[in-house]
């Protein structure tokens, strides 16, 4: 019988390239037969073949017992096969490992050859159990007569210590002795091991310094010297005296490696700079590595080579480009940020099309053109998308580092962000969006400029049309809409944004190309913009303007109707909300006759009835009562729960048919109820804050809003039910409940909160908590928004970044800021799906003492205004 050897298998593989899978399947079948054979030779051959196939990706874990059999063969050539297979295929959870203890013990006391392979095998497969049981045997091997064995034992001891640290005291003294071994190979191996050990626990090994120092001054082995310098690099931060002592020998060795001690680094910068210009790419790379280490402590030294480093961002070698980027981020300061960012931008701009070049950009293009002319290939290589992504992300983190500490001119930075939006062509839209929103919330001085830029973006129809393309950064439009809408009541921003001109852009049919989150932001922004615009009109009312208003409202209604049948429920709902508001406005406008007023006014002789349609004042107060502000991360924690808050009683008892789910629901109950309590009170505040006429509207709105909802729900529910027809009743109920919840605007899903501001938790812009105008005052004044816009903006002033955010008044900061408060406020579940229909049940309970819980109320209220659109993004 002729069994296939490994060579035959490989030859067969090469001959059967077309049908490899079939050939291998056949071979594995043979191996399965052979491996069970009593003949050790045959078994070992099978194991060896299997090891080869393992390299090609075929499983051999099933054969581990046979591997152990082969390992235990007394014949050396078979034993090696077994050990090889073991090192290749055994992992920490291979169960046959415990069978090898005795086998290894035996091999460790056998001939030198056996000892060598068992030490080698042990170094790979050692487990905590093996390390414990064999520690004595391995340590004994450190004193073997053959240097080859001692060498292997030194490394095996290290592997053993990693798995079984309890053996350290015994092993370490023996290991230290090996530093004085006669054989240089043993000493080198010991240094290698020490290097690993010292890296983990430098303080433990400081006592070794004299011995190591002697080795460094006497040895001529380059390998060992490199490792020794690494070793001292780990040690010197813990023993300052070492640095002084090391200086002379290292100065001698300076060409060998890049070590870490401070002194050495200082000495070395000029040398490294020479490396940077070296034609050898490897030296260049090493120089970058070393400079990154130096940059944090010696920024000035590195800064001298800024130009050289910047030009390397366009190097044709990706490895070097990545290193250069690292270095750039390490060396950024307030002074050089702008020039660095402009350079990076110029690398991003495609040579053929730069659709939106700023003056600075074209300037920097001109500067770098001599470079790009000669190396067209270089520029092409910067456009590999994954690298672009890294480059842009790095750019964004450089700038936002430490809450925009290095950014001096935020106008400039916003323009950079906008430029990035256009030239990115990779998926970074969400990050740009987050930064935009963050900056606008934190830096008051830049709001106006932000509105101007964002208006420009919103008006760019080509950008909108291309939004479906990959890497179009359409998410930025969300930020644009939000910024324009949120700042629309600001008088100066309003001039720039010109709401009546922007509105058509926000509601044009092609908006439906965008994601539902962005459409929602668009709709909300449109309503806000109209509110601000109509408010302004009412102040400078001229009766001829009525025609303009009517036209705008008509178009708004016409456009909004399209969105009420959008496939996303969130969009539908917002559109329906807005539609009802505008329908009311239109009705009011239709009944407004300026001529009548003109004739009637003198008769009345007073200004009882305003000269403009009242509905112009309807929308603006809905959005502009409170100002947005960033809130300290600990703000929520510092608000203690009011004592009167009872989380255990039902507000609305659950309907009977959900009783089966109570267990599942109770979890959500607590939060849900708290939420309800808050809303209850909040509704009260809202009602007071509005004029009587608005109350009428909200009632109207509520009716019409629930109509489409209720007619919709059974429909979807039925479909859902059909889908799960054969599921159990319980599951059906749960699905139905989830479906209802999905449609419930007051239900925030319990999914993990993927905050848009993952980079910095404390940047989540939330509403200002204190200095709210007293509710009565709001009711008195007709233009609440004017109160807070009294201050004028002077953009030339230095920008102030609100770093910490605000804390509620009189709050005691909690001991630890560790738990992020976001979760507690946003993960709110609603107890019953009946919430909508039972809405009237939430009327104000006069029994609840309002004064006890002032802060939470405001938070919730504010959330509704500003953060509502934000929430949808998080969803």
């Amino acid at each position: 019988m002729w069994e296939r050897t490994l060579q035959d298998l490989i030859r067969g593989l090469r001959a059967n390239k077309k049908d490899e899978a079939k050939f291998i399947a056949q071979a594995v079948d043979e191996i399965r037969q052979e491996i069970k054979n009593k003949d050790m030779e045959l078994k070992a051959g099978a194991v060896l073949k299997l090891t080869y196939l393992e390299m090609l990706g075929y499983d051999m874990s099933w054969a581990s017992f046979h591997v152990v059999e082969v390992m235990s063969s007394p014949k050396y050539h078979l034993k090696t096969v077994g050990y090889l297979a073991a090192t290749q295929s055994f992992g920490p959870d291979t169960d046959v490992l415990m069978l090898t203890t005795n086998l290894l013990k035996k091999d460790l006391s056998s001939s030198p050859n056996d000892i060598a392979i068992s030490l080698n095998g042990l170094s790979h497969t050692v487990s905590p159990d093996l390390a414990r049981d064999l520690s004595h045997d391995i340590v004994t091997m450190l004193n073997h007569s053959k240097p080859h064995i001692r060498k292997r034992a030194v490394i095996a001891v290290y592997k053993m210590l990693v798995k079984y640290p309890e053996a350290t005291p015994i092993a370490l003294t023996r290991l230290k002795e090996k530093l004085d071994d006669q054989d240089p190979g043993v000493v080198a191996a010991t240094i290698n091991v020490l290097c690993e050990l010292v890296r983990r626990e430098p303080r433990e090994y400081l006592s070794l310094a004299p011995q190591l120092f002697r080795l460094m001054t006497t040895s001529s082995n380059n390998w060992m010297l490199i490792k020794l310098i690494k070793l001292f690099g780990f040690l010197s931060p813990h023993e300052p005296r070492l640095v002084k002592k090391l200086q002379p020998p290292i100065t001698e060795l300076i060409s060998t490696t890049s070590a870490i001690s401070l002194l050495y680094e200082c000495l070395c910068v000029t040398k490294l700079a020479a490396f940077l210009q070296d034609p050898d790419q490897n030296l260049k790379y090493i120089a970058f590595l070393a400079l990154v280490k130096i940059a944090p402590t010696h920024r000035n030294l590195v800064a001298q080579y800024q130009d050289m480093i910047l030009s390397s961002v366009g190097d044709h070698d990706l490895s070097i480009r990545m290193r250069a980027l690292d270095l750039l981020s390490a060396m950024v300061t307030r002074d050089n940020l702008q020039s660095i960012v402009q350079q990076l931008l110029s690398y991003l701009v495609r040579p053929d099309s730069s659709p939106f070049p700023t003056a600075a950009q074209s300037l920097s293009l001109n500067i770098t053109s001599p470079l790009s002319d000669g190396t067209g290939l270089v520029l092409a290589s910067t456009h590999v998308s994954s690298y672009r992504l890294i480059l842009i992300q790095r750019l964004l983190t450089i700038c936002s580092y430490d809450t925009y500490d290095n950014v001096v001119d935020f106008q400039w930075y916003l323009s950079v962000l906008l430029d990035l939006t256009y030239i990115a062509s990779v998926k970074v839209g969400d990050q740009i969006r987050d930064q935009l929103v963050d900056i606008v919330a934190r830096v008051r001085g830049v709001k106006r400029w932000a509105v101007e830029l964002m208006t420009r973006l919103l008006r760019d129809d080509t950008f909108l049309t291309n939004s479906r393309e990959e890497g179009s950064c359409a998410e930025v439009l969300w930020a644009a809409a939000w910024i324009c809408g949120e700042n629309s009541s600001d008088a100066q921003s309003r001039e720039i944004a010109e709401p009546q001109k922007l509105l058509p852009h926000l509601l044009q049919p092609s908006v439906s190309l965008l994601t539902s989150e962005t459409i929602v932001a668009y709709l909300q922004a449109a309503v806000k913009l109209f509110g601000a615009w109509s408010m302004e009109l009412s102040q400078n009312w001229e009766s001829r303007k009525i025609q303009d208003v009517r036209e705008v409202v008509d178009t708004l209604i016409f456009r909004l109707k399209d969105f009420t049948s959008h496939s996303e429920i969130e969009v539908q709902e917002r559109a329906a909300n807005a539609l009802q508001l505008f329908t009311f406005v239109r009705a009011d406008l239709a009944s407004f006759h300026p001529e009548d007023l003109a004739t009637r006014l003198p008769a009345d002789g007073s200004s009882q009835a305003p000269a403009y349609p009242k509905s112009l004042l309807l929308i603006s107060p809905l959005f502009s009562t409170y100002e947005l502000n960033s809130v300290n991360i600990a703000a929520q924690d510092s608000i203690s729960a009011p004592e009167s808050l009872d989380l255990d009683t039902w507000i609305v008892p659950p309907p009977k048919h959900f009783s089966m789910d109570t267990v599942a629901v109770t979890d959500g109950n607590e939060k849900g109820e708290r939420h309800l309590t808050k809303r209850k009170i909040k509704n009260k505040g809202k009602g007071k804050g509005k004029e009587r006429s608005t109350n009428v509207v909200t009632v109207k709105l509520r009716d019409s809003q629930t109509d489409p909802m209720t007619s919709e729900e059974p429909e979807t529910e039925r479909i859902e039910r059909e889908k799960v027809a054969n599921c159990s009743y319980l599951k059906q109920q749960r699905l139905a409940r989830m479906e209802l919840r999905r449609h419930d605007p007051y239900y925030i899903p319990d999914r993990p909160y993927s905050a848009p501001f993952t980079n910095e938790v404390d940047t989540i812009p939330v509403v200002r908590l204190d200095d709210l105008p007293p509710l009565s005052q709001v009711a008195e004044t007709q233009f609440p928004s004017l109160l807070r816009n009294s201050g004028t903006l002077i953009p030339s002033e230095p920008f102030v970044v609100d770093r910490n955010g605000e804390m509620p008044e009189g709050a005691i900061p909690p001991a630890s800021l560790a738990p992020p408060p976001a979760a507690s406020t946003t993960r709110i579940t609603l107890t019953t799906p009946q919430a909508l229909s039972s809405f009237p049940a939430y009327v104000v309970d006069e029994g609840v003492p309002r004064t006890v819980t002032p802060e939470p109320i405001k938070v919730k209220h504010a959330k509704k205004k500003g953060a509502k659109s934000k929430r949808t993004v998080a969803d």
């Binding site: 090891t51 050539h77 090696t80 170094s123 490394i155 095996a156 290097c195 994954s386």
Partner: protein, 195 residues
């Protein structure tokens, strides 16, 4: 320490895969990825592989620190070492050179086919240079003598077990007796080439 040693050819077919630390994804996936990154690099590039994708690939596995990929290409083969920060980058480049020279001594003008047909021998040679991810020996003469010593031990053991095999074989390299045409022929005829 050294986390893995991989050899693959210019078409991405692995010739040797050695991981010194456990991995939680398929070794083949890592090889394929590294190959795809290396194969597009021009010859003038440096020997250190850096790519955004690489961090993802190696990231979840070794989250404590960043690993570096050092590689060197010889004719049709790429030698790739994945190492952490306790190894010197240039030192590893030299180590690859040592490894290749050791192979060259053992196989006499080593070529890809030697690695294909003697993959076990390559493993044995590597085991004389690196043990468990730590450098065992860097002196070529030491390595070479150790390699020869174990090879002859295997040969003897094989000969003792197979007295009819005409002294050919062991799981050894060509140097174990296949150089002479006669030896090659007997190997063919007996069909026990290297089992």
């Amino acid at each position: 320490m050294i986390h893995s040693v991989i050899i693959f050819n210019t078409s991405g077919i692995p010739r040797l895969i050695k991981f010194y630390t456990p991995i939680n994804q398929s070794a083949q996936a890592i090889v394929t990825k590294i190959y795809s990154l290396i194969s597009i690099r021009s010859s003038g590039s440096c020997n250190f592989l850096e790519a955004p994708e690489l961090d993802e690939l190696l990231g979840p596995k070794y989250d404590i620190e960043k690993l570096r990929v050092v590689y060197r290409s010889y004719a049709t083969l790429h030698f790739v070492f994945v190492v952490d920060s306790s190894e010197s980058e240039l030192g590893i480049l030299d180590l690859i050179q040592v490894f290749v020279e050791a192979l060259d001594r053992a196989f006499e003008n080593v070529c890809e086919l030697d690695l294909v047909f003697h993959f076990d021998e390559v493993h044995h040679i590597l085991a004389e240079i690196i043990q468990g991810g730590l450098v065992l020996e860097t002196n070529l003469d030491e390595i070479d003598s150790a390699v020869h010593q174990t090879a002859s031990a295997r040969k003897q053991s094989f000969a003792a077990a197979n007295p009819l095999a005409l002294g050919v074989g062991g799981v050894g390299p060509r140097s174990a007796g296949l150089q002479t045409p006669l030896g090659w022929l007997t190997g063919k005829l007996t069909g026990v080439g290297t089992r």
